[in-house]
Point group: D4
C-alpha cells in the first residue's frame, strides 16, 4: 500500500506540553507522524501516550508509524562531509525512511580527502536522487555534482565558526555551484531535503 | 534517439570573439549547444559560422540543435509571477526544450492576484516537475508548493528595487519556504533550474 | 468615555524591581498600563501592588485597565501563519483590546495551505484594518494583500532558522510585497502593529 | 462619483515599446492609469496614443485620468527631509492625487533644523494620515511620530552615500522607530506609500 | 595638579583572577585605574586588594582614584534617549569623571517626545562637548546636532530588537547624520566616547 | 572678524541648473558658500554668476568666499594613507580652510611604510586636532591614535576593491580602533570631518 | 627523524565520549594527536586512556606526542596584539610545536602602542614565517607586513564587540591589507595558521 | 643576480596622466616596475616613455624589466577553475614572473569535472607553492588542498552572479576550507597572491 503524507511537527519553540498534545490529536488520524527538532523530554512525554514512538537522538526526531510501508526499490543516497554533519544526516534519513524510501548513507567523505569520496562513487551513482550534506565551505555538493548525473538536493549545515556565519558560507557556496544539477534547501534542513528527494525517488 | 548532454557556454564577461571561437570548436563535436547570457552581437557572430543557430532575445540565449530530439510526454511547468520575470522564464524554457522536454508556461500569476493562479492549477498540477520564477518577495514558490504535490525548483529573480538587494529578498524567501517540496537555485538562474527539472522529468 | 493613551513599558533588559517601580509610579496617573516582553516574575511583582493586573503568558504582556472602555464596532483582523507566531499575535491582540478595539483572530492560515485562508476570507474582509503576522518567508502578507482592499500592517516574526537570519527573510519579503496596501513594522513588533491598526480603526 | 482603482505599470526594466503597448491596452478599459519609474521617452511614446497623458518629470510618473474625480476633504500630508527626496515626494503626490486625495506637501524640514518642522506642525497635524519621506538617517519619521497622533507611512529613500548602503540606514532607522504609529514601505516606494495612505484617508 | 592618563582594563573575556592580578600590578604605578565591562565578582576580587575601589553597577565599571583631581570648569553633557541606554551613560560618565571632567547628564530625552529635549536645551548648549547615547533608530544624534553648535560624539547602543541587528540600525543612522558636527564611536562604547570628549573638553 | 557659518550644498543628484540657482540665491546672503561633490560643469555654471568662485577639481568642491577671514594659529593636520585618498583629503582641506582653519597635510604615509609616518610625527603632534583619511584596511587611524594624544576624526574612504565592499572594511576597522581618541564619520565624508575638526580647533 | 602528519580532531560540537573514543582509536596508529577546541572535561576523559596527554587550558588544545621530534632551526614568530588574543596564540603555538617547529612569541604589541612592536622587530624579522594574531581592527597585520619581508599568515580574532560583528572587522581589515605578503585564515583559526606556517617553515 | 623588489602601481582610479608620470619617476630608479589594473590607454601612454614596456591585456598589467633575472628552479603552480578566471591568473602569472619565479599554469580544472584536475596532479604536486584561483563557489581550493601537501594561496574571484555577491561566496568558501594548508587573499587579488607565493618559492 502507498505511503500517505505524514503529519509533521516542527518542535523548536514549542513546549513539551504543546508537542505532546499536538501528537495526541494527530494520533486520532491514524497517519504517520514526524516531529523534528524534538528534545529528549519531548520524546519522553510523547512516549507516555504512544508506546511505539521512536526517537533518533542524534537527529532529534520522533517518528511514529501507523501505515504499513513497503520501501522503494530505488534509493536515496545521503552523502555527508564530516561527523559534525551527522545530526542533519539523521534528520534526513529518518524522514526519508518514514516516507517509504530506501536510504543509503555515505558519510565522512569531505572534499579534503577526495579519494574516500571516489571510493564510494558506485553507491552514490546508483541512487535515483542524492542528498548532499556539508558545512564549512560546502564544496562537496559541487564535487558530487560533477561526478554524478542525478538530481542533487544540497543541504548546507551550520557546522563551522568565524567566517562561516551560521552556515552562510556553505549556503552561498552551494547556490553558486558550478556543477549542473544542484538545488538547495535551507541551512540544516534535513527534513526538507528528504521530503523533496522522496518526491523524486517515487516518480 | 536519446538527447545527449549539450555543450554549454556562459557568455557573461566573455568577448564576442571568445564566444564565437568556443562555438566554432564545439560545432566539431556535433552536439547540441547552449550559450546563455548572450548579447545580440554574440548571436550575429555565431550566425556567421552556423546558419541554423537560434536566438531568444528576451532570454538572451543562443541554441544550436544537432541531435534529433523527441520531446518527453510528461512536461515541465514554468510558473512565473510577473512580466519582468520573463527573461528568466525564457532562459529556462529554451534550456528545457533543447534538453528534450515538453514545456508549459503559466505566466503573470503573481500572488497579489491569487485567482489567476488558481485558474491555472490544472496545467500546473499536470506537470511532472515545476519551475517557479519570482522576484520581489518570491512568495509564489510557497503558494504553489502548498497547492501541488510535485517537486518545485524555485528561481529567485533580481526583479525589484530597494530592500530587494539584487534578489536577496526573493532568495531568502524561497529558502525559508513553509511549503514542503521546494528547493532553490541561484538568483536569475533559469538555465540551472531547467537542467535539474529535466533530470527529474526524464526519470 | 473615550479610551485615552495608555502608559507603555518595554520590559526587555529591565530588572523585576525596575518594572515594578515604574508600574507603581504609573498607577498614580490612573491611566491604562501596558508592559510588553514581561516575564512571569515581573507579573508576580506587579500583582503585589496591583491586584487586577492581567498577564497574557504567551504574549508576555501585562495589562492594567483603569478607564472604562467601549469597544469599537468595526474590528481589527489579526491573521497569522502558524502556531509559532502566536506570541506576536497575542501581544498585538492584547494591545489592540486595551486600546479599545474589537479584535478577530484568524490563525494557522499559512500560505502552504491556501484553502484555509480562502475559507476565512469573509472575516478578514470584514475588518477595517488587518494585521498580518508571519515568519519564515512571510508570504502571507502579499497573499492577503492581493485578496483584500484594506490597509495591511505586516509583522515579520523571527520564527524560523538558518537563512531566516532572525526574521530578516520575512522582513525583506514583506517590504518587497508585490501587493499594494502593505506597510511593515519591526520584526516581532506586535505591539507597534496594534498601535497603528488602532489609530486606523478609530478613524 | 467614487474614484475606482487605477491600472498601474511599473516601467523599470521595460522597453519604451512595451510600456506603450501596455498603456494602449489599458486605455480600452476606461480607467485611470499610473505608470511609475517612467522615462521621458516612455512619456513621449505614450503621448502619441493618448493626448491628455501627464508627466511629472521629477517624480518620473505618467498619469492618465479617465474618471471624474472629487478630491477628499481630509488630506494626506507628505513631509520630506531634503530636496534630494523630491522625486519620491512627487511619485507619492501624483499617486495620491489620481487616487482622489487632497495632498499637502511640507518639504525641506529635515531634523537637522527642527524649527522648520515645528513651524509647520499645524498643517501636518491637520492631516488624516501622514507620509514621511527621508533618506540618510531617516530620523524624520521618529520625530514626526513623536509630535503627531496620526498614522505615519514612512518611506526611506536611497539618498546618501557610503554607510547609507543604498537606503539601508534609513530603512533600518524607520523600522526601529521609537515613536508609536510608524509603519514602513520599501526604499523609494512613494507609490506604495500613497496607495496605503489613500486607503486610510478614504475610510 | 593635572590628571594623568589612567590605566585601563577591558574585562570582557577575562577571568576574575586575571582582572585581579592585572589590577594588582597596576596599583604599583600609583595611577588612576579604570576597569570596564566588569562583573560584580570582579569588583569583589579587586576590593580585596584595594579598599577604595569603586563600582558603578549599572555601568559595570570599576574605578580607583590615585591622583588628586580638580574637575574642569567647562563640562561634558551626556544626553541619552531612554532608560535602557543608562549602562552606556554610566560607563561614559564614570570615565569622564575619573579623567577629571565635570559631567552633566540629560537623560530620557528620546526624539519621540521632542519637548523634553527642547526643555533641556540650555544645559546641553552650555557644554563644551556633547556625548549623545541612543539605541533603536539613533535619531537623537541628528536632532541634537541640529540644535547645538558643539562637537557631538555619538554612541549607538545595542538597545532594541529585530531589525536593530545588535545596534547596527543606530550605528548606520548616526554615521549618516544629516547634521554637521557628529562623529561616531563603536556600539555601546561609552568609555571611548568619554575619552575623546575629555580630550576636547580639556583643550 | 569671526568666520560665520557657510552655506553648504551637497551637489550629488542635483542638476547643473539646480546647483546654479541654489548658489544664486545663497549669494544674496553674503556668506561663504561650499558646494561639495560638484562636477566641472557645475563649476562652470556657477562661474557665470560668480566670477570669484573657486574649484578644487580633485576634491570636487566649489568654494566662494564672502567674509574676510583670519586663519587660526593652531592647525588641523590632515593625514592620509595613499594617493587614491586625495579627493577626500582635498574635500576636507578646502572645507577646513574656508571655515577659517590653518591646515597641514601629511600624505602618502600609509601603515605599510610606517617610517614615513614616524618621520612626520612632529607636524602631526603639533596639531590641535587630526583628520585621518584612509581606505582599504584603514589601519592608519589606529596607528596615529596610538602615537598622538589629540582627538582624531577618522574618515574611511571607499578606496579598494573586493572584500572592501565600498569602504565597509575601512569603516569597521576605524570603529573598532584599539586606540583611544578616535571617532569616525561616514565613508568619504571629508566635508563632515573638517566641519567637526574646525569646531574643535576653534575652541 | 621527520615529524609526520598528526591526527587532528576538531572537538567543537562533539561530546566528551565521542572525543575520547576518537582519541582511543587514533592512539592505535602511533602518531601525534591534536585535539582543538577541547574542554577540560574532554581532557580529563582523554587522560584516563592516555597518561601523557597534554592540555593547554588557555588554547583549549590537547596534544599527544608519539614521534620523537627534532625542532627546526628556523622559527615561526607568533605576533599578537592583546592579551585577549592569547587563546588563539596558544592554539597556534601548540600546533606549531607538535608539528616540530621552533616558535617565538611576541605578544601585547598592538598598534596602539607601536613602540613596543618596534622594540621587538629583530625577533620578528629573524623568523622564516610570521603568524599575526589580532582582533578589533586587525591593523597589526598591515603594520608588521610593512616592516618585514617574510610571508605573514594573518589570523583575525573575534575579540571585540559591537561593530566588530564576531571578528568581521578584523577579517576584512586583513583581507584588504595594503602591505604585500599577507594572507589570511578564518577568524580564530590558530590551528590552521600554524599548519600553513609549518609547511613554509619546513621548506 | 638576485631579483630586487619591483616598484608597484595600482592604477584603478588613477588617470592616464597620473600613471604615466608615476612610471616616469620610477624609471629613474632602474628597478622593475609593475602596474596592475592598467587600461590599454595607460599602456600606450607608458609606451611613449618606455619602449620595452610590456602589456598583458587579459591580466590588465604592465611590466617593465630593468634587472636581469634568473628564474627559480622550483616553480609556482597557478591552478584555475574556469576561463572567466583568466584575468586573475594572468595578473598573478605576470607578477610571479617579473619577481623571478618559474610559473606553471593549470587552467580549466574546476571541481565540476574533477578528472581534469586529477589528470594534472603531478604538475601541481611538483610545485613549491600553489596559487588556486576560483570564483563562484570556490571549492577548488579545498579540493586541491586535500590532494597536495604544499602551501596554497587561494584567490577568490568575482566571477559569478546573484548570490555570488561580488565574490563573497567564493571568499567565504575559501576561508572556511576544511583542508589544511589554505590561506586566502582579497577577491581578484592575483598580484598579492603571486607576491606571497614568490616569498615562499624563494625560501
Ligand atoms: N526541520 C524542519 N525544517 C523546515 N520545515 C519543517 C521542519 N520540520 C517541519 N517543518 C515544516 O513545518 C510544518 C509544521 O510546522 P508547525 O505547524 O509549526 O509544527 C510542517 O508542515 C513542515 O512542512
Ligand atoms: N514604484 C513602484 N513600487 C512598487 N510597486 C509598484 C510601483 N509601481 C507599480 N508597482 C506595482 O507593480 C504592479 C505592476 O507591475 P507590472 O505588471 O510589472 O507593471 C502594480 O500592480 C503595482 O502594485
Ligand atoms: N559631502 C558631504 N557629505 C555629507 N554631508 C554633506 C556633504 N556636503 C554637504 N553636506 C550636508 O548637506 C547639507 C546640504 O544638503 P542639500 O540641502 O541637499 O544641499 C548641508 O547642510 C551639509 O550639512
Ligand atoms: N581549530 C580548527 N579550525 C579549523 N579547522 C580545524 C581546527 N581543528 C581541526 N581542524 C580541521 O578539522 C579536521 C578534523 O575535523 P573532525 O574530523 O570533524 O574532527 C582536521 O583535519 C583539521 O584539518
Ligand atoms: Mg551532475
Ligand atoms: Mg507541495
Ligand atoms: Mg490589497
Ligand atoms: Mg505618534
Ligand atoms: Mg550642530
Ligand atoms: Mg591617541
Ligand atoms: Mg612585507
Ligand atoms: Mg593540503
Amino acid at each position: 500500500i502507498r505511503v500517505g503524507y505524514p503529519e509533521v511537527i516542527y518542535c523548536e519553540g514549542k513546549t513539551v506540553e504543546q508537542v505532546k498534545s499536538i501528537v495526541e490529536f494527530m494520533l486520532t488520524k491514524n497517519k504517520n507522524i514526524i516531529a523534528t527538532r524534538a528534545s529528549e523530554e519531548m520524546y519522553k512525554a510523547v512516549k507516555e501516550i504512544c508506546e511505539d514512538a521512536n526517537y533518533n537522538k542524534l537527529g532529534r526526531i520522533i517518528t511514529i508509524r501507523r501505515t504499513e510501508e513497503k520501501y522503494t526499490d530505488s534509493y536515496i543516497a545521503i552523502v555527508a562531509a564530516g561527523t559534525s554533519d551527522l545530526p542533519v544526516v539523521e534528520e534526513a534519513a529518518e524522514t526519508a525512511k518514514i516516507l517509504g524510501n530506501r536510504v543509503e548513507k555515505v558519510i565522512d567523505v569531505g572534499v579534503a580527502g577526495i579519494h574516500r569520496l571516489l571510493a564510494n562513487l558506485d553507491i552514490i551513482r546508483g541512487a535515483k536522487v542524492i542528498i548532499v550534506v556539508a558545512g564549512m565551505e560546502g564544496a562537496l555538493a559541487s564535487v558530487v555534482g560533477g561526478l554524478v548525473d542525478k538530481p542533487i538536493i544540497a543541504v548546507p549545515t551550520s557546522v563551522g565558526y568565524g567566517a562561516n556565519f551560521g552556515g552562510l558560507s556553505s549556503l552561498l557556496s552551494m547556490l553558486n555551484s558550478c556543477a549542473s544539477g544542484v538545488s538547495v534547501v535551507n541551512i540544516d534542513n534535513g527534513f526538507g531535503a528528504a521530503y523533496i528527494a522522496s518526491m523524486i525517488n517515487k516518480i
